[in-house]
């Protein structure tokens, strides 16, 4: 029966001799955040922050900076960092505004190509320099990467930010009839805040939305559960709405000749605060009316802005494609800047708390 043992012996031999290079968890530098700015001579200036985890759960961070032509080339330049630098756990990638306007694909390409990178990474644009923001990391206990990851994730899930990550950027960048966007970050005095949304045309950043516009965008973009929103009532009082749930439907008619788009937004919201005396039915109606009017006006303004920039972050083109047989993209693109778009909002108040 000795021939039966031969395979086992061979297997054990392979196990003992052959080896592939290891990436042991505590020996490889794990990059959680990287920032890219435009460097001198059109190079990429990359900044990474490395964490050193101490046994008592403390984190010590250091930043490294280098310039190169490609984002992988940066690795060679980062000679002070032990190799191999792993990007598998990259949580956030930031672009300086200048770099974003120059085009982000020369960096992102290597991430999309590399099987080791995740697709749930958040990508964002920093007003100013990404490198400077990353260098400010001492403020944050767990390191700035995980902090920003949580900041962005929470504002998507509970706040007013539309869903976004590396995959969505890729999706909208390649997809026809849509354009990508990224969250916009800003460094205030001594904290990092989300300041809005960066709009892209292809790989280049072309515009910005502020926080209020971002909320509008989120409401009409797709089904979303947004955070808080404050509205001014005609009588001068203020009301705050929370758990604003939007459900949108886009109707595109006559997609291949002279397209017309009508957007219907169904919104359920709860009243969290009202500055007036008593919240009766009439005032609720006022709130609803004010809210609907605001949505219609603001979102029309938003869409006008998109049309002027000739970008389509709402993916109107894609929605038109899905509702039109044999859709003609070139015709659509010609018509887009002057497209006839109407918004109809329909709001409902669900709850108003435990008092009137």
């Amino acid at each position: 029966m000795s021939y039966k043992k031969i395979p086992m012996i061979l297997l054990m031999c392979i196990v003992l001799t052959a080896c592939v290079s290891t990436e042991i968890i505590d020996e490889v530098p794990v990059v959680f955040i990287a920032g890219y700015d435009k460097g001198s001579d059109d190079k990429i200036k990359g900044t990474i922050s490395l964490q050193r985890f101490k046994p008592n759960q403390e984190v010590e961070t250091r930043t490294f900076q280098a310039e190169a032509r490609t984002s992988k080339g940066l690795r060679n330049q980062l000679s002070g960092v032990p190799k191999p630098i792993t990007i598998g756990k990259m949580a956030v990638m930031l672009f300086g505004e200048e770099e974003a306007e120059h085009g982000v694909l020369r960096v992102l390409d290597s991430f999309l190509r590399d099987p080791a990178s995740g697709r749930l990474t958040y990508v964002g644009v920093v007003e100013g320099s990404a490198g400077d923001l990353i260098k400010e990391e001492d403020e944050y206990l767990q390191g700035i990467g995980p902090f920003l990851q949580i900041l962005i994730r929470q504002s998507i899930e509970y706040g007013n930010m539309p869903q976004n990550n590396l995959h969505f950027f890729d999706y909208k960048y390649y997809g026809k009839g849509m354009d990508p966007y990224m969250p916009l970050l800003k460094k205030n005095e001594n904290e990092i805040v989300i300041s809005g949304l960066a709009l892209f045309k292809g790989e280049k950043m072309v515009g910005k939305l502020d926080l209020e516009e971002m909320f509008m965008f989120t409401l009409i973009n797709r089904k979303h559960k947004a955070g808080l929103f404050e509205i001014t009532l005609p009588d001068g009082n203020y009301a705050t709405l929370y758990k604003v749930i939007s459900d949108v439907s886009y109707k595109v008619s006559d997609g291949n000749k002279t397209p017309k788009v009508s957007i219907e937004v169904d919104i359920n919201a709860n009243i969290a605060q009202y500055t007036g005396d008593k919240l009766d039915k009439r005032i609720k109606n006022d709130i609803v009316d004010a809210f609907e009017k605001k949505i219609e006006q603001d979102s029309m303004k938003l869409i006008k802005k998109f049309q002027e920039l000739q970008i389509d972050p709402l993916a109107l083109g894609d929605r038109a494609r899905s509702q039109t047989r044999k859709f003609d993209f070139s015709n659509w693109e010609n018509h887009y800047p002057t497209l006839n778009i109407s918004v109809k909002a329909n709001a409902d108040i669900m709850e108003s708390g435990v008092i009137d």
Partner: protein
């Protein structure tokens, strides 16, 4: 028949479902939507259904070809075309089967090399897989079927995770339905055929079934299972990727696994590839097993020795293929051979069988 297998080594006829299904699903599923959708876009899922239906017809044809007696295709070709032409045909089929084994093994190892271990030398995993294959073949057909049975059962739970990208998917991508020309659908179906190849194993496994005639339903269920799984993967891929993005993506299913996020584990593609070992392995075993059957019946070499020869051949061919282009090329070659096998050869011998049976009766 003097060659018909002994009663103890027969397997229950419903296992043909697992045999067919496991031999169809291979590496293709990790990236097939892109090849279909270059022709049919959002209608790719219809192509999956069409191809599934076509293969139901092929299965029906194969049952007609196999007839009522316990004979496999090897016996039939020898009986119908004489031992020279029949033997030659058998050898050609054997080469096709071996190519199938090489393609699937090499492509999977390419996936491992691309995703997990770029420095891994090809011969190491190939050798390990082939040693295991020998261990399986030595156990006879029952073991081969056992491997394909578990090759279906173990990775089945991955379907749940395959659906998880739905959170990020937009299902309006599937609209409008039927927005492509007939020619597009035909081209898509041709591409899709590659993923459905493997059903030919029925022609070899047939005499090993306890009750061949009643296995018919199960064979169809096997094809149906394949269709459903491809359908799910296809729909998720269409909804998850934008059309142009999908064209950029080689291993779309693997990338969509990146979206799985559990409290203790992320980056599910590594686990996916790991479990894919269980999917790949039965393919290799079944193909080489069928090839050794041909060797036994046509060349009269004992399966024990012939399997060693075949394993060495597969080993050498796998090691000789080094680049992504070569892998792609051998994939294309096998796909076209398989396509001709199904769309031309099977209908021909189907007609031949019908006519011949009429005449002799």
């Amino acid at each position: 028949m003097e060659n018909s297998p002994r009663k103890e080594i027969l397997v229950s006829s419903f296992l043909i479902m697992f045999i067919i299904h496991s031999n169809q699903v291979g590496v293709g599923i990790l990236g097939f939507p892109r090849y279909i959708n270059q022709y049919t876009g959002q209608d790719g899922w219809i192509v999956v259904l069409i191809t599934g239906l076509i293969f139901h017809v092929f299965v029906w044809m194969m049952y007609v070809i196999l007839g009522d007696e316990r004979e496999d295709i090897i016996d039939l070709q020898k009986k119908w075309f004489g031992s020279w032409i029949g033997g030659l045909l058998n050898l050609l089929v054997m080469i096709y089967l071996l190519l199938g084994a090489v393609v699937i093994l090499r492509t999977f190892i390419e996936v491992i090399q691309a995703w997990m271990f770029p420095e891994l030398k090809t011969w190491i995993p190939v050798l390990m897989f082939l040693l295991l294959t020998y261990y399986v073949l030595a156990g006879g057909f029952r073991t081969v079927v056992g491997v394909s049975f578990f090759g279906v059962i173990f990775p089945l739970w991955l379907l749940i995770t395959a659906v998880s990208p739905a959170k990020y998917a937009s299902f309006t991508n599937l609209l409008p339905v039927f927005d492509h020309s007939l020619k597009d659908f035909v081209m898509g179906t041709k591409q899709m055929t590659l993923s459905f190849l493997g059903a030919e194993i029925l022609l070899f496994a047939y005499p090993f079934l306890k009750n061949p005639k009643s296995s018919r339903v199960w064979a169809h269920i096997g094809i149906g299972g394949t269709t459903i799984i491809y359908l799910i993967v296809m729909i998720i891929s269409i909804a998850f990727y934008s059309e142009e993005q999908l064209q950029q993506t080689i291993w779309s299913t693997l990338i969509s696994w990146k979206m799985v996020e559990l409290p203790f584990v992320e980056r599910f593609e590594y686990i996916g590839i790991t479990f894919w070992c269980f999917v790949i392995f039965p393919n290799v075993c079944l193909n080489i097993w069928a090839a050794t059957r041909i060797g036994k019946k046509t060349l009269h070499i004992k399966q024990k020795y012939f399997s060693i020869v075949l394993l060495i051949v597969v080993f050498i061919s796998c090691v000789l293929i080094t680049t992504r282009e070569q892998v792609d090329m051998i994939n294309t070659i096998t796909a076209s051979i398989g396509t001709y096998f199904f769309y031309i050869y099977i209908p021909i011998i189907f007609l031949y069988a019908v006519v011949r049976r009429r005449v002799t009766r």
